[in-house]
């Protein structure tokens, strides 16, 4: 066993930026995002793929970053919570989570918002049932989910109507 394992070097495409990074090859995408790219907006709750807190979008699809090796992500389009706002203007999902109670402690929020974004990207007007289903892999211990559903519905409305 080597205390300082070999590192790999590659360029990851994160939130539209080409980011060169070197890291130990056993590292997950979650670890590389948080520890090597300082993108700590993505959280971890179990690191076993059980809770959804680490969900990011890879090529537009929600993916549990704790289960994906970072070396497998070269050339793929990675989106994290940090890339969602336009400058200081919040994405409608972010604004809704902040305004209508979708975020209490905030720890599941990044994963929830990214998963909800993937849903709204493909279904602009999802039913409550569809929202519940789409978010069923993301655990939240604070909200009881209801204000999260309401946040997604509010964001969907804003995205469709173009106004708040």
């Amino acid at each position: 066993m080597s205390a300082v394992p070999d590192r790999v070097h590659m360029t990851l495409r994160v939130n539209g930026e080409e980011l060169p990074v070197s890291f130990a090859p056993y590292k997950t995408l979650l670890e590389v995002l948080r520890e090597d790219l300082n993108l700590t907006g993505t959280k971890h709750g179990c690191e076993l793929g059980e809770c959804g807190a680490c969900a990011v979008l890879v090529d537009g699809e929600p993916l549990l970053s704790c289960l994906e090796l970072a070396v497998q992500c070269e050339g793929r389009e990675i989106q994290t919570i940090e890339g969602l706002a336009k400058g200081t203007e919040l994405h409608p999902l972010q604004a809704a989570f902040a305004d209508v109670g979708g975020s209490q402690c905030g720890y599941c929020t990044s994963g929830m918002v990214m998963t909800a974004k993937a849903l709204l990207d493909s279904e602009p007007a999802p039913s409550r049932e569809r929202i519940r289903e789409a978010l069923s892999g993301n655990l939240c211990r604070c909200t009881g989910y209801q204000q999260i559903w309401e946040s997604v519905e509010e964001a969907a409305r804003v995205l469709r109507d173009g106004k708040r």
Binding site: P5, F97, S103, S110, T143, G144, Y145
Partner: protein
């Protein structure tokens, strides 16, 4: 413009009661809020803990030489470095940061490695050689009572009994003998855990001035600060604890954790920052969650459904350490008499040590268990007497400002309104017993305190303090030791200051949970923050307001008590045309008085009870809740579906209705999870695998909790009747709404299919078993069958207020003269 108002009389609010983005909402939504594990410092090292594989064993030797020599390892620590014990309660200082001579549960930390990265530290853990000599284990309180030896701890009442107590308020046996009916029921409430989304994490460092800084996911930075000074044997003034924003707590981050001492010690020894983040499995071992409690209720009633007396016995499975146990033991009974008029009450409770992770405070701390039994038993009473369960409850709610038999002052109560509201919302009268086969409605109520009347360690100082600083730029900075768990305490603080000064909450900068900067608040537990921090904030804001009013009055040509603060401006009450901006008023005040600052503090009123033990249960106010649950039960599988829940919560006043509603729904969610599936359960490995007592499900997949697909819609009513002891009348909402859910569900299942499940969680196998019993003509019930002989002590006897008592203990034979 209204005349100057006292907070409660204020007719129109700028901020209070309006749905608003919480002050920390933006940072959370963009992923910018920094939780403990998000923190990084230059030269930072990483720590991992080695945990015991045995539930009870003597540590014969620990050899760390190979680990120490492993490349990349900077330090290996064992119990030898931690001679001083700690514990959240002064009477239970029974933990060491790393076990010294004995391990007491699977997961007890025995050594720690600090290394360049987590991977290296994990490798080195495997190189530590520990020789254990295994000891007999205690798996349950019953086993603990039957086996006083070997003792898990060498302190406590006797054998493996940690706490044992008995209180009697009026002669209960006499009242039961005179009752038309006496109902005797046994209930069991399985343990469960908080499961916060954020795993505990801590980063310790030595600051430039040589002092220790610990940034940690903790609910109680003040208590942690005290314990660090004790364990590390350095002055508290040389330690600064910052409570980072918590990713949920629910009580699980109240106790100081082993890891917090370990990284602090390591940072001091190495002079480098040391971080730890517990794995999810380790969070299950840290636990401090809901105590499993076996309960026996003997309750007397008259034939028209008035309670005459109750004898409650509880037996708590404490796990391996004291934790909050002395308080938890009290809480399995002290709040029982708050909801309904109960002339006499006897309460016996016993907490037993077992070789499992320590139990402690979880949302509702000790109260959900007896409330479950009490409210299910009430349902049985209503059924037997042919009364509507909602009407029965409504007919006997405690009166405002009344005393209970145990000398708790009830204060304001909206329980009757809560019951009426859920009856109306759920269509109780029209729909109950008309939903068709397999479907039912159940009702239950509860109450919870708004902050414990007494601190965890004995003192007469304030429970919460706030410092407020203003300057000519219009900045308003408020400092308070209160801790944000996600419940919204920063938003409460900002909204109270903002409303009091008539400014937008966006003007207010909150600096909280930092023992190096903020005045002391005891912590985020016992639903105390809104009331205690809020009252301290009101006092500080009132003092600042006086200065601003005095300065502004001169300019506005009015009297100071005619100055009104609203909409970021200051007005003369008699003429809104006479006005200036808030910023101008601050500048005038700074000119007149110098720097504008004020402090405020709060301590709860002295409780009416004066007997020894009367300190647990009193609160400045109590919240009340009523809940109706609808169920559908599949008779073939026992599967329970919950289509909808209605809940009314007496909150006094909702400061920010978005957050208040979120707390209510979140409480209902957690209660429903406890009712249906959550359990911290253990099993024995087979003898060839050491017979260890291991956690059955230490992962988020196996520890079942409700997902977005399982959660029903919750309809919430906030009952707002401002409480005079509370800031702007606001009572607690963080814990109370959880409490009525479990019994309401059990009662709904009975309503649906006629079976009683007298224990939680109510899993499909239990429902199916009860249905099979019903089919066979047996008693259609699943629940505990017996209560062991517990050697409860002779009770402390106290006469209830209406029997001539004075709140003190009396000799039992004195009472006959009075009755």
């Amino acid at each position: 413009m209204n005349a100057p108002e006292k907070p409660l009389q204020k007719k129109r609010f700028d901020t209070i009661g309006k749905p608003r983005r919480r002050v920390d909402g933006r940072a959370k939504a963009i992923g910018q809020l920094r939780f403990a594990d998000d923190l990084v410092l230059p030269r930072m090292l990483h720590c991992k803990l080695l945990r015991s594989p045995h539930p009870h064993a003597v540590i014969e030797s620990i050899d760390v030489a190979r680990a120490q020599a492993h490349r990349g390892v900077h330090l290996v620590l064992t119990g030898a470095e931690f001679p001083v014990p700690y514990g959240i309660m002064p009477v239970s200082q029974d933990e060491h940061a790393l076990a010294r001579e004995r391990v007491r549960f699977v997961g007890d930390p025995v050594a720690a490695v600090v290394a360049v990265d987590e991977q290296t530290a994990t490798e080195a853990l495997e190189l530590i050689e520990v020789k254990y000599r295994q000891l007999p284990t205690v798996a349950s309180p019953e086993e603990g009572l039957a086996n006083p030896e070997p003792r898990i701890h060498d302190y406590g009442e006797q054998g493996n009994i940690h706490r044992n107590q008995s209180y009697e308020f009026g002669d209960v046996e006499e009242a039961l003998a005179k009752s038309d009916h006496v109902f005797e029921d046994l209930f069991f409430y399985e343990g469960n855990t908080h499961l916060p989304m954020e795993q505990q994490a801590s980063l310790a460092s030595v600051e430039g001035d040589g002092k220790l800084l610990l940034s940690s996911s903790t609910q109680n930075p003040h208590y942690l600060h005290r314990q660090l000074a004790r364990v590390l044997q350095i002055p508290a003034a040389h330690i600064r604890v910052i409570a980072t924003p918590n990713g949920g707590g629910f009580g699980g981050k109240c106790d100081p954790g082993n890891h917090e001492f370990v990284v602090s010690k390591a940072a001091l020894m190495l002079g480098r920052p040391v971080k730890i983040c517990l794995t999810r499995e380790e969070v299950f071992y840290q636990h401090r969650g809901r105590h499993p409690v076996l309960m026996k209720f003997r309750t007397g009633v008259t034939k028209d459904g008035r309670l005459t007396a109750m004898h409650l016995q509880t037996l708590l499975d404490g796990g391996a350490y004291g934790s909050h146990g002395p308080a938890s033991t009290f809480y399995t009974g002290v709040l029982t008499p708050v909801t309904y008029e109960l002339p006499r009450f006897k309460f016996e409770a016993c907490r037993v040590f077992t070789n499992k992770p320590a139990c402690g405070p979880k949302r509702g701390h000790g109260t959900p268990q007896p409330r479950f039994g009490q409210e299910v038993q009430l349902d049985k009473i209503a059924e037997k007497l042919g009364l509507d369960p909602a009407e029965l409850r409504l007919s006997m709610v405690t009166k405002p400002d009344s005393l209970t038999a145990s000398w708790l002052r009830v204060g304001s109560t909206g329980l009757a309104d809560c019951i009426r509201k859920v009856v109306e919302m759920s269509g109780w009268k029209e729909r109950r017993r008309k939903l068709g086969p397999g479907r039912g409605l159940g009702i239950a109520c509860s109450s919870y305190m708004c902050g414990a009347g007494v601190s965890i360690y004995w003192n007469k100082m304030p429970h919460s303090a706030v410092q407020l600083l203003l300057d000519r730029s219009g900045q308003v900075t408020v400092y308070c030791g209160a801790t944000e768990l996600g419940q919204g305490s920063d938003d409460v603080l900002a909204s109270i200051i903002a409303e009091s000064l008539g400014i937008d909450p966006g003007f207010v900068r909150c600096v909280t949970g930092d023992t190096g900067i903020t005045p002391i608040d005891l912590g985020s537990y016992s639903s105390r923050v809104t009331i205690m921090m809020g009252n301290a904030a009101l006092q500080a804001a009132g003092r600042v307001r006086e200065l601003l009013a005095a300065a502004a009055a001169e300019q506005l040509n009015t009297l100071p008590d005619r100055v009104v603060f609203s909409q970021d401006r200051v007005f003369a009450a008699e003429d809104p045309g006479k006005t200036m901006s808030f910023i101008e008023a601050v500048a005038l005040a700074e000119t007149k008085f110098g720097t504008i600052a004020a402090v405020g503090s709060y301590a709860p009123p002295k409780p009416p009870g004066r007997y020894k033990g009367a300190g647990v249960g009193p609160s400045p106010a109590y919240s009340f809740s009523a809940c109706v649950v609808e169920t559908e039960v599949d008779p073939h599988t026992g599967w329970v579906t919950v289509p909808k829940i209605w809940i009314a919560h007496d909150i006094g006043r909702a400061l920010n209705p978005v957050l208040a509603r979120g707390q209510v729904i979140g409480g209902v969610y957690m209660g429903l999870g406890e009712a249906l599936m959550e359990e911290q359960a253990f099993r024995r490995l087979p003898p060839k695998l050491s017979s260890a007592l291991v956690h059955r499900n230490p992962s988020m997949l196996d520890y079942k909790s409700l997902t977005s697909l399982d959660m029903p819609e919750v309809e919430v009513a906030l009952i707002e009747d401002p409480d005079p002891n509370c800031p702007y009348g606001a009572k607690e909402v963080g814990q109370g709404p959880l409490l009525p859910v479990m019994p309401a569900l059990a009662n709904a299942i009975y309503d649906a299919v006629g079976v009683r499940i007298d224990e939680v969680p109510i899993t499909p196998d239990k429902v199916l078993r009860a249905l099979e019993k019903k089919e066979k003509g047996e008693v259609p019930r699943v629940g505990p069958e017996s209560f062991p002989a517990v050697p409860y002590p002779a009770p402390t006897f106290v006469l209830p207020p209406w029997e001539g008592g004075d709140g003190n203990e009396t000799k039992r034979n004195d009472k006959t003269a009075v009755v």
